[in-house]
Amino acid sequence: MQGFLRKDGRKGIRNVVAVAYLVECAHHVSRLIVQKSGADDVHLIGFPGCYPNKYSLEMMQRLCTHPNVGAVLLVSLGCEGFNREQLRRTIAASGRPVDLLVIQQSGGTTRTLNAGLDIVRKMRAELATQTPVPMALEELIVGTVCGGSDGTSGITANPAVGRCFDWLIEKGSACIFEETGELIGCERIMASRAITPELGREIEACVDKAANYYRIMGYGSFAPGNAEGGLTTLEEKSMGAYSKSGSSPITGLIKPGDVPPRGGLYLLDVVPDGEPRFGFPNISDNAEIVELIACGSHLILFTTGRGSVVGSAISPVIKVCANPDTYDRMADDMDVNAGRILRGADLDDVGREIFDLVQRVASGELSKSEALGHQEFILTYKQFEPIGPACLPAA
């Protein structure tokens, strides 16, 4: 594998120019810059809200200094609440080329677009001169998420990703699994896998927090398609989702934007702290993917039974299809047919296929969603307290 070395010592498997809108009012101009650049490695990210929010600023700082990002163009309308200067300083301090366009100062849509295209062209030319350096599996961070789960997910794709995670962790990678609201019912088993009893108690407490949060919201993380695919209860879905974590000990409990300090298995707590203020923890799968990426994930293993087509800005998404019938219908969108386990294939063979593909995609091969141009991105309001001292026990 090869990666692009960043000033902080991390390496990226892609060299993306991120164009970031800092309020919805700058979204269209930013999108035009991305579209008219005509380049697949120019990605659109952003935050829609006009009110300042500590979480969204931290997330944007993490995302804009993600190892897969080589340079950033910020696009502001001018009057929004986002702290664009702090974001710009953080990016500049990371050694990345960064520029800021303020639409109200640039003179509107067309002038900002033209200026943006010029900046992006120069940034891409500069990135093209960077030479990749060797990269090892111990420098890789992989996140996993499931979307459109059904009755096959917990039997095929999720345990196959779990095998892949076990092998990656053996090689020193950091692997992140998440959505504590989709792990309700697994808290005791998870706690027993924690490397310290104190971490185990933190894990149980964060699942309790998730259960309480969703109870107030009135819905668990359970969509109609889950039921149509044979899943009946939240804890049933949880048990299936949980198998993505494999069998390694749980090294730490992190929150969005926390980068794993070393290899091992990490649980990402995505449910906000405090009383619910901004609605559902993650309004769709891409909100979870964005948080995994903010934690430094170089690539994402996305398991799906019903059939999701999404990818992501910044980090490639590999689709592992759990349901063989879905695979037959949507093969163009799926990287791995884990559903063949139901037709007699061996779980370890599918796990090995995912493990090999992770290394190929990390080496530059495009995943299906990447090749199809999927670059979904969503970031909304949240609030978090920092993790407690027991969450990352010293190795």
Binding site: G218, G220, N226, G229
Partner: protein
């Protein structure tokens, strides 16, 4: 894959048991593929005629289950029975409830005062 290997594969597929027992403690089985009503399947070593069709990924009762029975899948509890079901019967939203949070479907509004147990 050669056409011979492909035929072999499909023969193997036809021979695979259509019901999966995921854990020895489980009291439900999972359909490995769509199974038609009346299809003869093997259930714990006995042949059994499916009372109704069941879709891939759905569950059926491994044995008769009384109300409030804890349902086990992967060897872990996934909820409790709302009503009694017979062996081989489809186990889903109409007869199984969460012990945590109610599930949602397109037909049921979880915010309505009538909870899912009344459906």
């Amino acid at each position: 894959m050669t056409s011979f290997a492909k035929e072999q594969g499909e023969t193997d597929k036809a021979r695979l048991p259509p019901l999966l027992l995921l854990h020895p403690d489980d009291n439900i089985l999972v359909a490995r593929r769509d199974i038609a009503a009346g299809e003869r399947v093997e259930l714990d070593g006995e042949t059994f005629d499916m009372p109704a069709a069941i879709e891939l990924g759905h569950k059926l009762a491994r044995r008769a289950l009384a109300p409030d029975t804890r349902v086990l899948k992967y060897g872990a509890p996934i909820g409790s029975m709302k009503i009694a079901v017979a062996r081989g019967e489809h186990v889903h939203l109409h007869n199984l409830r969460s012990d945590y949070l109610p599930s949602t479907s397109r037909e049921i509004d979880p915010n309505s005062k009538t909870d899912q147990d009344s459906h």
